[in-house]
């Protein structure tokens, strides 16, 4: 199938040569693809804003012989414009895109990941009160989907509900008896907040802001855990951690 139709979400772009770009797209049917968009950087490009990151597009792609395909046509299904026009939403959105880019495999269909990203962007597009919490909830769901679900309510090793230490390498919360070197103590509030956003709908996570101290501890755990298991330093996380937060919501 040299020419195929699919829908996808633009994850990122790289410059190529004089006026072209390579766009990375998470498609519904073919997993992650990397495709050349010819002339994308020209002001009169026929693609215009259609291949900007965050855009949900319907595509006509020419399958290349090597690793790169070529985008021949693109139509916007949803531009997610709100996300691009607010720095906090944008930072949260970029964290989602980076995580997706990390776990998605090229030409390997992953419909659940595609739907997760689509719903994440839809939630951000509705301007939630706490976009960073949506991104953090998204990160937890993405980790679960990729087989790295952290244990948050009981010891990852023995199932003891009295787990007050955390170890990325051991898979999450651990109890005193099972903790190995490298496990650090954590506040139960931070664990239960993470368990809460992991369970909640993405839309509800945007309204779950804990007190600052809890958030700081939860973030250190989550970001460390994500980077440990995704085996890469996430460039967007330091910026996500700096986004101003709304006042805590008392449940």
């Amino acid at each position: 199938m040299p020419l195929f139709k699919d829908q996808g979400i633009v994850v990122r772009q790289h410059k190529l040569g004089e006026a072209d770009k390579i766009v990375t797209i998470l498609t519904q049917g073919s997993g992650k693809i990397r495709a050349v968009a010819k002339g994308l950087r020209r002001t009169k490009s026929r693609f215009g804003a259609r291949l900007e990151p965050f855009t949900h597009v319907s595509l006509l792609v020419h399958r290349g012989r090597g690793a790169l395909d070529t985008v021949t046509q693109a139509e916007i299904l949803s531009a997610h414009r709100t996300v691009r026009e607010d720095l906090a939403l944008l930072t949260a959105g970029e964290a989602m895109l980076e995580a997706v880019d990390r776990v998605a495999e090229e030409h390997e269909r992953n419909v659940r990941l595609f739907l997760l990203l689509l719903s994440g962007l839809r939630v951000l597009d509705a301007s939630p009160a706490d976009p960073a919490a949506v991104a953090e909830s998204f990160l937890l769901k993405l980790l679960s989907l990729s087989g790295f679900h952290p244990a948050l309510t009981a010891c990852a090793v023995c199932g003891n509900p009295a787990a007050a230490l955390f170890s990325s390498g051991q898979g999450g919360a651990v109890c005193d008896g099972c903790a190995e070197h490298g496990a650090g103590p954590v506040a139960p509030e931070a664990l239960s907040w993470l368990a809460g956003v992991a369970r909640a709908d993405l839309a509800d996570a945007g309204g779950m802001t804990p007190p600052d101290a809890v958030r700081r501890e939860a973030r250190a755990m989550l970001y460390g855990f994500a980077e440990y298991h995704l085996e890469r330093r996430m460039r967007t996380l330091p910026m996500l951690a700096r986004t101003p937060l709304p006042a805590a919501v008392v449940p």
Binding site: A49, I76, R235
Partner: protein, 197 residues
């Protein structure tokens, strides 16, 4: 493949961006066949560019000496600053010939995905200039893409509380383009930014 100097030339040329081994070979043979004066001029131009061009202390544009041509020009209004990403963008704006103010080159755009944050750009220098020169308007002319817009939002958030007018270049239909080929985002912005005629 070739002997001595010509192979050295081919090797050096092929390091340039966009020049493959075949193009490098073609350029090298062109230089070898050309008039010796022409080759000397090229060599001289490369050395001069490397030795004499620096970055302007004020705006960050490429300059010959301490200040660039625009910052040296007393006829340019210092109270209007046009913020751009790269020195190339100054040239593009100057070709339009409409701006009477001066420039500020950031040296890139905010891109969380590439790990480029505001602290990697010349943002602090911008704030200093705005304070010292009594700037009243900052025109943000970063690229109309994701990174450029993020940068524009960031700059606006810093300057607006100080009571400075922050404007953004309009987005819309390119002159000479066709409406039917415009994408929804561009067309939507063109409609929002429409003008009375």
């Amino acid at each position: 493949m070739y002997e001595g100097p010509i192979q050295d030339l081919v090797d050096e040329l092929s390091r340039l961006p966009g020049i493959g081994p075949k193009s490098a070979q073609r350029l090298a043979f062109h230089i070898v066949k050309a008039d010796p004066r022409e080759a000397r001029r090229l060599a001289e131009a490369i050395i001069q560019a490397k030795e004499r061009v620096a970055f302007c202390r004020e705006c960050g544009n490429v300059a010959e000496g301490d200040l660039c041509r625009i910052c040296r020009d007393p006829g340019r209004d210092p109270t209007t600053l046009c913020v751009v990403e790269e020195p190339k963008d100054v040239v593009a704006m100057e070709k339009a010939g409409v701006l009477k103010g001066r420039y500020h080159v950031l040296g890139g755009a905010i891109s969380p995905l590439d790990g480029i944050g505001p602290e990697d750009l010349r943002v602090k220098e911008l704030l200093d200039r705005v304070e010292q020169d009594g700037v009243t308007e900052v025109i943000v002319a970063t690229n109309p893409n994701l990174e450029g817009n993020a940068t524009a939002m960031y700059v606006a958030a810093l300057l607006k509380p100080a009571g400075i007018r922050v404007t953004r270049l309009a987005s819309g239909l390119p002159v000479g383009g066709d409406l039917e080929y415009a994408d929804e985002v561009t067309l939507g912005q063109a409609l929002e930014g429409r003008r009375e005629i």
